[in-house]
Subunit: 342 residues, 2 copies
């Protein structure tokens, strides 16, 4: 787009200096109303819009932050969370005049792919990384001098924002215990998410401990967050000599897999087996048997991450904080007291 009006052309049109136009654009209070009005008139007469590139050059920062999200074809179920988180972050950033540049990474194939962009070129001021797991490339970004906020967990010394996984899992386990379940099966997640999964596991154990009960041994199996792995996990759990009366899957997709297995094998839910999930995805809510699950505050998670990053950019709050946002237990039709209270 050649021939776009510049500050100098606006200045000429308004009969002031370019610096005065700059002051008007940036809301400098020292400009008198008369001059300001003249400049504003010229700006709209010429159709002037400031160039982000010019500003970036002069200020030494781009006022754009990068958002790195995982993108794994198989993990479609996290989409509700991702979209909400993104909009939360975007709105917070927009409110402070920042833009959000999106970069996707295929965790499995090439974890570093999404970072490479930021490594190669200086086009963002900081980064929000969704999902700390499997991000060995994180230290490289820090090395480059980027402020980084992780949505999720990381072992690197970075600001973290994450849901209260332990509290959420505690709430689910407590709910199931209160219904009278004792043999509670757990479908745990994959190694990439071990920090979040460990927190959820702690929550489950704490619920048992608080109820002065021992967590039943041998009722924990592992999935990889996919529907299919939940389905397989149900098979394994129900084949045990003493199968569980309730299954708590560490995400909704696996919980739906468990539910499907129950349907296929003539088990009623919640009659024979109660099922609970985690994430409160639309698939869990809108199904024929709505799932008890834990709702994350995805929008606020994104919003908060953006706030922290902006504070880091402003030099405020240089501490690498850990922010935990409460989850909410959503009790639905998939959980009920066990047939025979033990």
């Amino acid at each position: 787009m050649p021939g776009q009006p510049t500050m100098r052309s606006v200045a000429e049109h308004a009969g002031v200096s370019h610096q005065t136009v700059s002051r008007v654009v940036n809301g400098d209070p020292t400009v008198t109303d008369a001059v300001r009005e003249r400049v504003v008139t010229s700006m709209s007469a010429l159709g002037y819009r400031p160039s982000a590139g010019g500003r970036a050059m002069a200020r030494g920062r781009t006022e754009v932050v990068g958002l790195v999200i995982p993108h794994d074809p198989g993990f479609a179920f996290a989409n509700d969370h991702l979209i909400r988180m993104m909009t939360g972050a975007e709105q917070e950033l927009a409110a402070r005049g920042y833009g959000m540049l999106l970069s996707t990474r295929e965790t499995a194939k090439d974890p570093a792919s999404a970072y490479r962009r930021f490594d190669r070129r200086r086009l963002v001021d900081g980064l929000i990384v969704e999902g700390g797991g499997g991000t060995a490339a994180l230290p490289r970004l820090v090395e480059l001098g980027y402020p980084v906020v992780v949505i999720g967990y990381t072992e690197d010394d970075l600001a973290m924002v994450h849901p209260d996984d332990e509290g959420g899992a505690y709430a689910v386990a407590q709910h199931l215990l209160a219904l009278g379940h004792r043999r509670i099966g757990v479908v745990n997640g994959p190694p990439e998410s071990r920090l979040a999964m460990a927190a959820r596991m702690r929550g489950v154990h704490r619920a048992f401990t608080d109820a002065r009960l021992e967590p039943p041994p041998g009722l924990e199996v592992h999935g990889d967050f996919t529907f299919a792995s939940g389905h397989a996990a149900a098979q394994r759990l129900m084949a045990l000599p003493a199968p569980p009366t309730a299954v708590f899957a560490f995400n909704d997709a696996m919980a739906l897999g468990v539910l499907r297995w129950m349907r296929e094998n003539g088990k009623s839910v919640p009659g024979d087996v109660s099922i609970a999930g985690f994430d409160d995805t639309s698939a869990a809510v809108l199904g024929e048997t709505p799932l008890t699950s834990v709702a994350l505050q995805s929008v606020d998670l994104g919003r908060r991450a953006a706030q922290i990053l902006l504070d880091l950019l402003d030099g405020k709050n240089a501490q690498n904080t850990e922010t935990v946002m409460a989850g909410r237990l959503m009790v639905r039709a998939s959980t009920a007291p066990p047939r025979t209270v033990i």
Copy 2:
């Protein structure tokens, strides 16, 4: 981040001119291997990374495009599509060295909000707008000189990329007719999507016509794409004197609402009533009764939109094309022959 190395400092370190460094960065073939190697060594020794701002200034374009997506709290079901579309677009853009700036708009509250950013400041070279509906602000963007590609439908004279809504709906209707259904209820979408919905309706009618049948009158009701509206629509359809034997809802969320109503009212699916949706969301696939639906090529839709936009930016393909991407009928457990073939 002050004191970052620049082209000139790299040039000094390597004992060449800044222009030679520029040539190396941009892969100019006229640089001899010896010099190139020296420059590359200096670049990594100093940790040099080009400044996107400087390049944007000098080139007069930012090499970033904007992606505008709708964000309506109630419309969570489109998330699968959105994420896939975004990753498709992002990967295509990244492959050509472009960045993708995200902007969300709340269609209902303030349709123009997402555009304002691009109106106020010159920070992208072009725009991809997801969902043409309700975008009265589009002409303003064109007026500003942005190349725009719409994913969806628009009445403005812009490049469009959209799924084959007519063909997809045709496939569903044909499938239901082939099963023996004649009284096929349709749960249509909201006015904002009227162009897409009209295409789907044409598809349904064409299927009837091709089968030398008359579309049954009075079996079309309207929803707003939400689960609740699908639920209500089922109520209305089934209260008719001659209720449908199959219901085709124009998105999955409404189809799931229909399914729920059937469950609550003792109708078996697909025994008493067949149900089909549109979009092939995870909620439809992973439910207890997997839904027959139409899968969109969301990733390719995004990828294609990005390609077209990049071509527009290159001055190639100045035509405002309309690109249609086939959908795929996914037949699942929610559709079967009617109990009594009429």
